[in-house]
């Protein structure tokens, strides 16, 4: 086990990349703490799988280094890196029994049979496969097969990192939840570094201590779920995480004063604003937006009841601003005024948080 460091990592699938758009990964500098539970979150095509394959050695990056501890493994083949990876779609060895499937990674490394047996039984217990150990793997359902894949990823004790590439895609919704908490529990028990790739924010936020948000081959923010929620460093993070996402509205900045359409708004990062330029936007989450006696004038256009709370779609200057209203609170008709929680309102310049 070791800390994993990515140093100035870049990768392009093209032979001769020139402009930044040619890169699937643009300059990454990330450090993964030993024993951490990380989630790699981002929309499809943002470079998550590329990054994973570089760490596992299935892909050699065009630039930069991958370090396990102090050891440079950038060009090392997969089997010498001692890592485990679980793929999006279940991979099982059809002709083997469930037991032999789980034992396969150990036997290939010459582990003694009694040690193999011990590990396989522990892992089978963890993944609820004990009753099926003697069955042929090909006869299992999709989620049974994915459990085998998970089990094969977990069976070796000494791996540097276990990586999951959207492992729950093929799993039924009710089992998804179960397996997710199982993985979390396994992480606490095994203490192995785990990297979990997903485009589903719920999965990422429930699994990980640290979430790495990616967009277009770049890391936009690394932080705890709370940090991502309260202080998104980029409007993309604000919008991508949370349901509904963060309200983003263009604003004017003069000196330290912020105004949206003539209404002055007090923001958290006002002190950092002087001397900054760019296209300014105000970002406030619906959770921190409330109705008030005075403030930003809006028209209420739609109310959606989600059960526990209601999502109000208000409009200012043709732009939608959403707010979450708890049950029991009154929603004014027609026109209203909005106030924003100062501590959770921040200004972004060209998409990035002004700091």
């Amino acid at each position: 086990m070791a800390k994993i460091t990515l140093n100035d990592l870049r990768h392009s699938y093209m032979a001769d990349p020139k402009v930044p758009a040619d890169y699937a990964l643009k300059k990454l500098d990330v450090e993964w703490r030993d024993g951490g539970a990380y989630a790699l979150l981002g929309p499809s095509g943002c470079g998550k799988t590329t990054l994973l394959n570089i760490i596992s050695g299935l892909l050699i990056p065009s630039h930069g280094q991958v370090l396990f501890g102090d050891r440079d493994v950038t060009k090392l083949p997969t089997d010498e890196r001692n890592i485990a990876q679980v793929f999006q779609f279940p991979v099982v060895y059809d002709t083997m029994s469930v037991y032999d499937n789980l034992a396969f990674p150990l036997r290939n490394r010459g582990v003694s049979e009694d040690q193999v047996d011990k590990r396989v039984r522990i892992i089978a217990e963890m993944t609820d496969l004990t009753g099926m150990l003697k069955q042929r793997a090909s006869g299992l359902s999709a989620d049974g097969k994915q459990k085998i894949s998970l089990g094969r990823g977990l069976v070796r004790e000494d791996v540097n990192v276990i990586m999951f590439d959207e492992p729950l895609t093929v799993i039924d919704p009710h089992l998804k939840w179960l397996l997710r908490s199982k993985l979390k529990e396994l992480h606490q028990r095994l203490g192995t570094t785990m990297i979990y790739v997903t485009h589903d924010q719920t999965e990422a936020l429930t699994f990980a201590d640290q979430v790495v948000v990616m967009k277009d081959g770049e890391v936009v923010q690394i932080g705890t779920p709370v940090e991502l929620f309260e202080k998104p460093r980029h409007t993309f993070v604000g919008h991508f995480i949370g349901s509904p996402g963060m309200n983003i509205m263009p604003c004017n900045v003069k000196g330290g004063e912020v105004a949206v359409g003539g209404t002055a708004i007090s923001v958290d990062n006002a002190s950092a604003l002087s001397g900054k330029s760019g296209a300014f936007e105000l970002g406030v989450r619906p959770e921190f937006t409330t109705f008030a006696k005075s403030g930003l004038p809006v028209q209420i256009s739609k109310v959606t009841d989600t059960g526990r709370s209601r999502i109000v779609d208000a409009r200012h200057d043709g732009r939608s601003i959403k707010l979450l209203v708890e049950e029991g609170q009154l929603i004014p008709d027609g026109s209203a005024f909005l106030a924003f929680d100062k501590a959770h309102a921040q200004v972004y310049a060209d998409g990035w948080l002004v700091e």
């Binding site: 997969t78 991979v91 290939n108 490394r109």
Partner: protein, 287 residues
């Protein structure tokens, strides 16, 4: 709700019935007809029951042909299937060479069977053929028109040349359909090349290989044109396979009765063996 019986549906399947009747049932029944009767050539027939069948089954000549046929079929299966798989494994999975390889592989399959026979006949002739002449030049006493072993060698080499491509193409189709994730998982699991073949590639190729074996079995058991042109069954009867023997009885000696009986026995052997093959392989699949 009551279902009404409507016999009109029969009219809809009638065209198919007529088509099948003309290209399969009527010719087959003609053979059945011959096999149960005796004729002296002036279109008069006498009922002879199962006598021809008994004759054929008691004839050493039939069993000898069947033996040669089985030897031929199993030899080419043992060579073509592993060889085909081996070639498919070495073929590139992507890039411009894929189409080059595929075209090269398909070439033998596109050549008419009698041309294949004629080609190899000339190719292997000891005096003027490239192969035959060269073999003699390097010190082998090679003459496929006189020596049994040489005739078999040429016959089998010809079939391997002609038909291994079919196994290659089928095995290749099976190989390229394996998702990359399997190979990546195997790398991560630390599997050796042999284990990747044994536990991923071979199981994933099983279906197509079943079809390849079945097709090669049926085709090689039916083979007629190529050996007919290459050796004509000779030297002597050394390469007289079932179909060539049948041809000699039916069209050489004009013994229509025994030939009919032999055809049907021949047909039943292929049908039965194919069915057993298929059932065994598919049952394995389900387990």
């Amino acid at each position: 709700m009551n279902k009404t019986v409507n016999q009109k549906a029969w009219f809809l399947v009638l065209p198919v019935i007529i088509l099948v009747a003309f290209n399969a049932i009527i010719p087959l029944m003609t053979v059945v007809n011959y096999s149960l009767q005796e004729t002296f050539g002036d279109n008069t027939f006498f009922w002879s029951g199962v006598r021809w069948y008994e004759d054929i089954l008691h004839s050493p000549r039939f069993w000898a042909s069947l033996g040669r046929q089985l030897f031929f079929t199993f030899t080419i299966l043992f060579i073509e299937v592993p060889l085909g798989v081996a070639i498919a494994l070495t073929m590139p999975k992507k890039g411009p060479w894929v189409s080059v390889c595929l075209v090269l592989m398909s070439l033998p399959l596109l050549i008419p069977w009698n041309v294949v026979g004629a080609m190899w006949n000339i190719f292997a002739l000891p005096d003027i053929g490239l192969l035959g002449n060269w073999l003699n030049a390097v010190g082998f006493d090679f003459n496929f028109t006189r020596q049994t072993g040489d005739a078999w060698f040429t016959l089998i080499t010809m079939d391997v040349w002609h038909w291994t491509s079919l196994v290659v193409l089928l095995a290749y189709a099976g190989l390229v359909s394996i998702p990359d994730a399997y190979y990546q998982a195997a790398l991560i699991d630390g599997a050796s090349k042999w284990k990747i073949f044994r536990f991923i590639q071979l199981p994933k190729m099983k279906r197509v290989l079943t079809i390849a074996i079945l097709l090669r079995f049926m085709d090689s058991f039916n083979i007629y044109t190529e050996p007919k042109v290459l050796t004509g069954g000779g030297p002597g009867n050394a390469t007289t396979l079932l179909s060539i023997d049948l041809d000699k009885i039916a069209l050489g000696q004009f013994d229509l009765g025994p030939a009919g009986a032999m055809s049907l026995i021949y047909f039943l052997i292929i049908l039965l063996t194919s069915w057993i093959f298929y059932t065994l392989m598919m049952r394995n699949e389900e387990q």
